[in-house]
Subunit: 361 residues, 4 copies
Amino acid sequence: MSSNTFGKLFRFTTWGESHGPAIGCVIDGCPPNIQLNEKDIQKFLDKRKPGTSKFVTQRKEDDKVIILSGVFNGKTTGTPISLIIWNKDQRSKDYGDIKSKFRPGHADLTYFLKYQNRDYRGGGRSSARETACRVAAGAIARKVIKHLTKKDILIHGAVIQVGEIAINPRNFDWKNTNKNPFFCPDKKIIPIWEEYLDAIRKKGLSVGAKIFVEAKNVPTGLGEPVYSKLDSDLASAMISINAVKGVEIGLGNNSVDITGAENSDELRVNKNKKIIFSSNNSGGILGGISSGQDIQLSVAIKPTSSILKSQKTINDKYKNTNISTRGRHDPCVGIRAVPIVEAMTACVLADHLMRNKAQCG
Amino acid sequence: MSSNTFGKLFRFTTWGESHGPAIGCVIDGCPPNIQLNEKDIQKFLDKRKPGTSKFVTQRKEDDKVIILSGVFNGKTTGTPISLIIWNKDQRSKDYGDIKSKFRPGHADLTYFLKYQNRDYRGGGRSSARETACRVAAGAIARKVIKHLTKKDILIHGAVIQVGEIAINPRNFDWKNTNKNPFFCPDKKIIPIWEEYLDAIRKKGLSVGAKIFVEAKNVPTGLGEPVYSKLDSDLASAMISINAVKGVEIGLGNNSVDITGAENSDELRVNKNKKIIFSSNNSGGILGGISSGQDIQLSVAIKPTSSILKSQKTINDKYKNTNISTRGRHDPCVGIRAVPIVEAMTACVLADHLMRNKAQCG
Amino acid sequence: MSSNTFGKLFRFTTWGESHGPAIGCVIDGCPPNIQLNEKDIQKFLDKRKPGTSKFVTQRKEDDKVIILSGVFNGKTTGTPISLIIWNKDQRSKDYGDIKSKFRPGHADLTYFLKYQNRDYRGGGRSSARETACRVAAGAIARKVIKHLTKKDILIHGAVIQVGEIAINPRNFDWKNTNKNPFFCPDKKIIPIWEEYLDAIRKKGLSVGAKIFVEAKNVPTGLGEPVYSKLDSDLASAMISINAVKGVEIGLGNNSVDITGAENSDELRVNKNKKIIFSSNNSGGILGGISSGQDIQLSVAIKPTSSILKSQKTINDKYKNTNISTRGRHDPCVGIRAVPIVEAMTACVLADHLMRNKAQCG
Amino acid sequence: MSSNTFGKLFRFTTWGESHGPAIGCVIDGCPPNIQLNEKDIQKFLDKRKPGTSKFVTQRKEDDKVIILSGVFNGKTTGTPISLIIWNKDQRSKDYGDIKSKFRPGHADLTYFLKYQNRDYRGGGRSSARETACRVAAGAIARKVIKHLTKKDILIHGAVIQVGEIAINPRNFDWKNTNKNPFFCPDKKIIPIWEEYLDAIRKKGLSVGAKIFVEAKNVPTGLGEPVYSKLDSDLASAMISINAVKGVEIGLGNNSVDITGAENSDELRVNKNKKIIFSSNNSGGILGGISSGQDIQLSVAIKPTSSILKSQKTINDKYKNTNISTRGRHDPCVGIRAVPIVEAMTACVLADHLMRNKAQCG
């Protein structure tokens, strides 16, 4: 993985800035003869799209994807697939404060220090707008997975905590996640989150979130020890998403304070010689290779850095000043991360399916 | 990063099995004219070496490293550096139970499912013995860092939790970490851990651990957004270490339930135009690029999977059976992970120093 | 280098088909703060453009390049530079014969055999139209080279043979190359080539060509032995260009039948301690590393495969048939290869400048 | 491909200097469960071994290979295969002249300029001794090819020209190549070459050579357009071999001066729907993808640079001086290149078989 390219065999390169003319993505290495059209991709982009509820940014973007290459007569050809999404709502030509001031918690300062220049237009390349491209790549990755496995590897995510308020795991029901603006699997917590986030939003504050993602029906054998383990590639994928500050595989941190006997997923075979595990504390990965259990991981997302409250900062002349971010921003960026986390999971799995096929298939 | 190679410009490839004749490592891309001898590497290997206390495996290995290439007249030449460590204590030629049975929680089963073969000799390639090579590479990475930055980027780690017992952060003192068998920074917790782990060991049980690692004096500008961010490469490096199940950057999971105002590291410049942050919740990384603050991260390590207690498992004929692992094993593998976590941090930093120099230097 | 991406640090990814809506290119890893606008790129594209003389294809394309990202306020930002060129003249919607028949000498058959599908629209991805993207990337590579070396590394190419007729090396004068439609450095041969190629064209035939390319003022030390030598990367770059069938470094094939004494470039230092070579048979590269002499290489290009003469072929139903290619085609594709060969040379040099800077700078 | 690693999926990393303690190679990505032992590799190393006739260097090396990892119970496990060859005959501790003087035509000067250090011990890393590792990797590549294709892809090379004297193509018979010290396919030319080379040797001179290599039974579909075409990867592989100055695919340079009609390989299907080509001017590759015809290419190798004749040179203090290389050297290094050229061809094919399987298999 290097800079703006992700993956080894199924790989994609993204480009574009938040307020440039367009963003886009080139997917290379895709197997040929997979049915693909723009709708296949659009439905996932729509899930990530801004402006869908009052809990997410009000930026207006259709996020309409156009396929420019790599597909002919409705099928992938095996050549690079170029996708483009034109930016519509670049809004204010007047960037005001942020033109010269660094927003604390954002990448403004570090991009400036690294590249010695400043693209202040809505965060430029560091904006989460880039993640639309990941979602588009993920839509194609799902197609690749289905093509290669001949079955559905269900990849789905859910928000399991917003700020201080976690769901009740006993109420976890995947059927709920697409029926509310939070991708929340716990029906009972929804009104509580609504009230809580509304208050946060009105105060111009923000909170973090925790997301759980699961992939079901993953074949055994995916992952390349020792430096491209399935979990290390998933971790890299997750932490590369804006605002993600932690990733846990399976039990994760909770495996620290239990004993090896409790943590162990014991093994049995059933009558059909199918392997049955007594539990899935490992999150479906042992020694960096998928075990056939569900892949399960969770990510921690920090609170949105753009807040109304005035904060101490400096400007590009190294003068002390203050900043308060107005305008359209998410009280909890974590919510919109669900389709992105799912997409990155799909991309890692598609890549490793191809890699495993090459060496061990 | 691919399979057994880590890094892009400063990169190393490891090879070897737990009970094969030797393990080794080829470091490629190392800058020339850096003073390097075997002692520079050996001192870090000695820190990781087994058999140093009753809390770690009793396997007897000198772990004596030999440089086979890439160094001439005491300096690196710029050509590949080949390191070899001969395995001494391969012990029992009789592998007993584990010859045919899969140890729960280990990679035995998944390697078998992926590669359709079984190297039962002490875990073969999946053994943590491989990590000696990482430590050796890390020793050279430290030299590279010093060579490129002309200063010491202090990279050090500490065990901050063993099983249920965390240190008291108020007692954290780096000076303690090298004075006890636990790399523990909290003097007061040491006797408690000793008693606790001794009991765990005697019962044939095991527990997990949490490790904190910090790199001080890291230059700004390291990390390549958006898919080779400094934190995503660090996360990948950490999760690639045996038994690591979680990684957190800066505040990590604890950033979820606070507000953006609390999480924000505010900015000021002092009289010397040096940037001062009000806090370091970000762990020294913003937008995937080092900010000049200390890099801080923590990893969660699961309990040792090899335990005395009899566990349900299957054998390579897909028959149900039980297994109990006897012999020399760690009650808490997490302890020995400290030098490994440090080494991987050093390798990521060396690689990104070279990458940043290439594009922005 | 993998599939549709070229280079390691200065790297570009191309996409698009001959008769799709557009072609394009993403350049990643470009150093920041280099002045760049569309004109800088356009002037090289204009040199490669079709339809400029009767000796090259009559396809009408403006080849107008648009920068979509990576440049802000007239300078590169260090983030990916996305370029797009819209296809204008996709001409006949009726592809006639070539819709089902494989053109001998073309990639039609092998793409079909590999990918099990057929993009008959003007060769699809295998069309030399892709090389416009290389020329665009090369224009940026030249800027990078100038930025990094603070001097002009003059990279220029010339056609030194068309079909059976080679230039007279004694008449070689770089000043001529941009004054005739053949990039020919030998003024006297031009009318002969005109007559010769006109006859070839009228007969519906085609011939090959030989191109010489030279890079002056290249710093010493570029190239990474032993598998990314400067010459092996140049060779890979050249052979990747459509229709190139041979590459020679320095004396190339002519070094076979002379003695080591004749082939040797002897060494002297002058008064200023500058190294002077008695000759440049090596083509400026020794052991895969630039020696400071001019980089010199030549490539052999086969005759255009599309010819009027009826040829035996098969169709996609595996039936025997015949084909004769009508329409706009080049009597000698080699002519238009000059800017492409120059561009690939520039890209290899830019990449290796960055790589050398990272390890040895 | 980067520095000391070759290949993408089937990849190997070599290390070691001519007069260091050992040289070696790590093969990563090899499919599991392939029978492999040291003899499988040794037989190819023996073919390349020095000291086998008076026409090649008299250095005495057994070149005995030892497998250190990646093979268990006689089969590859899928984990990295580490090979080591101990250097025996490092001979003179007194390097005499070459300790401070740069040998013209060698990499001495450019390594010094790039790395700012000097490993004068027999050329250090730039020595052709490194190619033993390529031959070892090639032996394993052949096994991989057989494993994946279930058939023999016969890969063989022959010397077709020594200095001024080319073979008569009409006398070409593969059966001869292993029966003479020149890998010569033309029985009648052997005594002529013997006399010719003996004279060259006695005069302390040297000449170049041309090698032809062919791979039969290669499946269709290998090669990844547009930057990892089968021919561009082969060209890169060939030019990376010491002293190679040119590579031609199929007709190569000879395709320049014929017409498209003559150059075209026309197509027919026979009764069994097998594709039959009227000729193989393309060398078995169209558009960078294997066509099913034999892969054919040739390489040009410059005369050995080490010669008895006194040559002008400079030393590492930048003083003018002269050098004459005494001792054991080849009058024609090209001869020993045959097994190396074969090995690199095998490695490229193994890699592309795996790559093609991943995307299109």
